[in-house]
């Protein structure tokens, strides 16, 4: 019974975070996030050798992307791709991945 309540609460929080992130349109954010799946796996569930984004802490992802974008963090590719997304888009995409099952 306790576990059921925890589960319901968990689902509730997950849904709340999805709606909070995607004030515009959840389907739009889902589409933007799908643009990352080529390298990071469908819904962020990566195959070996690439970072899994599903379930990643939202603030961590936002910070990493902001650092890539500002040139504070080096990479082979992500510092180039991060510059193509607005700060709001990064927040929305990071929130989407945080809500995905790892």
């Amino acid at each position: 019974m306790k576990r059921t309540i925890q589960l319901i609460l968990g689902v509730g929080f997950a849904l709340a975070s999805v709606f909070a992130s995607a004030q515009s349109n959840p389907a739009q954010v889902r589409s933007w996030a799908a643009g990352c799946a080529n390298c990071h796996g469908t819904n962020g569930q990566a195959q070996p050798g690439m970072e899994t984004l599903a379930g990643a802490n939202k603030d961590d992802t936002i910070r990493k992307m902001s650092d890539f974008k500002a040139g504070r963090r080096t990479a082979t590719i992500m510092h180039q791709l991060a510059k193509g997304y607005s700060d709001d888009e990064i927040v929305a995409i990071a929130t989407y991945f945080a809500s995905q099952k790892r």
Binding site: N25, A27, G35, N38, C39, T42, Q47, M50, T76, L81
Partner: protein, 425 residues
């Protein structure tokens, strides 16, 4: 590793569960019908994502003549000998098992856009609410008389669709004596995979440097210069393959003498080689042209970049290498996969009465192997411009590698595993 496997199998299990549930509850003929033609990076991705994003409520049939998916990206490594054809082959079964896509091994012979009827080689017919065409490229041999002679196409290969020709070209290179010449001709852009030919030259040169060091690679390029990652490729040719690779720009092939293994050019002297690898000019896949969808120069299909619906016919979407590209948009597998998802989202929205995303954003990443381990990339971010009604690259984003590296080689293979899974699993 164990944890990952557990998670993957749990995820697969839940997906089968969902599919199974719908299979049991919904009558087979209910729900809108989407037919996808072509199971490459564009079509297979679209098929999977229409199912996923419609919560498995839209029926999807995928028509594909090949038994398995064979990847063009990484196929140059099979030609160079550091990978096998098995390494780049993935079955279609996960699309049906995990996602409930009905995969039909057949070939589309005609499409009636008014009656929405598709005829298949087997004789059967299909109807659709929305049709997604992803037929890749076909080759324009019409003006090259020598290629239309008997068995010329069996001898002078393109190997520009991964599969039997990939293996056959590898065999030709293995059979070639040391001291021989491999000649690769490149058509005027746009063609499928801009950096692909230059990567192929590197892979063949890598093989020669190890196994046949007296042999040569001659690149005959109709373009004025290397069309993608130019400085990085030229550096590899100078640093790694000096004396093996020779690059000749502004060479337009006007005929091919397959009997004598000779290329004939508009302005330059004939070139005879031991192995000829002729890349013909390309256009949208035959079925798109035949259906009247190739509205740009009768070669490529113009589309609405919000939905990928073709400008020539209602309810028919075209994606992947067949489209008239937006500025700076490459004809790549990565891009076709992005088209597939953008189109899938739009098709689901259109069939369920929802708003189509007014702002698609996606990226392209393209890795090229300059040896069996070292890799260079080009990347870009593309977003919809509502005024120009096309996709544009974002100023200041994207770029190329600083230099070839082994770490990018590892990322390139991780990219391959991920995009194959995103497209097919």
């Amino acid at each position: 590793m164990k944890r990952r496997q557990l998670i993957q199998s749990a995820w697969a299990g839940s997906a089968i569960g969902i599919t199974g549930l719908f299979g049991a509850c919904a009558t087979p003929m209910s729900g809108p019908k989407v037919v996808v033609v072509g199971g490459g990076y564009g079509g297979a991705t679209a098929a999977k994502y229409v199912r996923m994003w419609s919560d498995y409520g839209i029926q999807v049939t995928l028509i594909e003549p090949n038994a398995s998916f064979v990847s063009c990206p990484i196929s140059n490594l099979v030609i160079g000998g550091s990978k096998t054809i098995q390494d780049i082959t993935t079955p279609y079964e996960n699309l049906s098992k995990r996602h409930g896509v009905s995969v039909v091994r057949d070939f589309v012979t005609s499409i009636d856009p008014d009656k929405r009827i598709i005829k298949l080689q087997s004789g059967s017919e299909l109807t659709y609410d929305r049709l997604i065409l992803s037929p890749g490229v076909d080759f324009m041999y019409d003006d090259i008389a020598g290629m239309n002679k008997a068995s010329a196409k069996d001898k002078v290969l393109h190997s520009w669709k991964a599969g039997p020709q990939t293996v056959a070209l590898r065999q030709q290179l293995q059979d070639m004596p040391d001291g021989g010449v491999y000649a690769l001709s490149i058509p005027l852009a746009p063609y499928r995979c801009p950096p692909g030919p230059y990567e192929r030259a590197c892979q063949v040169a890598h093989y020669f440097s190890k196994a046949k060091p007296k042999s040569k690679v001659i690149i005959l390029d109709e373009n004025d210069d290397v069309t993608s990652k130019g400085p990085l490729f030229k550096k590899a040719w100078t640093d790694r393959y000096k004396g093996i690779i020779e690059y000749r720009p502004k060479h337009k092939v006007v005929d091919v003498d397959a009997t004598n293994n000779t290329l004939k050019f508009e302005f330059n002297d004939d070139l005879k080689a031991n192995v000829l690898n002729y890349l013909p000019p390309m256009r949208a896949g035959d079925i798109a042209v035949k259906t009247g969808l190739a509205t740009a120069n009768k070669r490529w299909c113009e589309v609405d970049f919000l939905t990928f619906e073709t400008k020539a016919a209602k309810n028919i979407h075209v994606l992947g290498d067949s489209i008239q590209i937006a500025p700076a948009m490459p004809k790549s597998g990565h891009m076709a996969n992005q088209h597939g998802k953008t189109c899938a989202a739009a098709v689901v929205a259109l069939l369920t009465g929802k708003e189509v995303n007014p702002l698609p954003i996606y990226n392209n990443t393209c890795y090229s192997f300059v040896s069996d381990t070292d890799v260079v990339h080009v990347s870009s971010v593309h977003r919809y411009d509502a005024e120009k009604k096309t996709m544009v690259t974002v100023a200041g984003s994207g770029g190329v590698s600083a230099a070839a590296s082994e770490i990018e080689g590892q990322y390139a293979m991780a990219w391959a595993r991920n995009i194959w899974a995103d497209t097919l699993a």
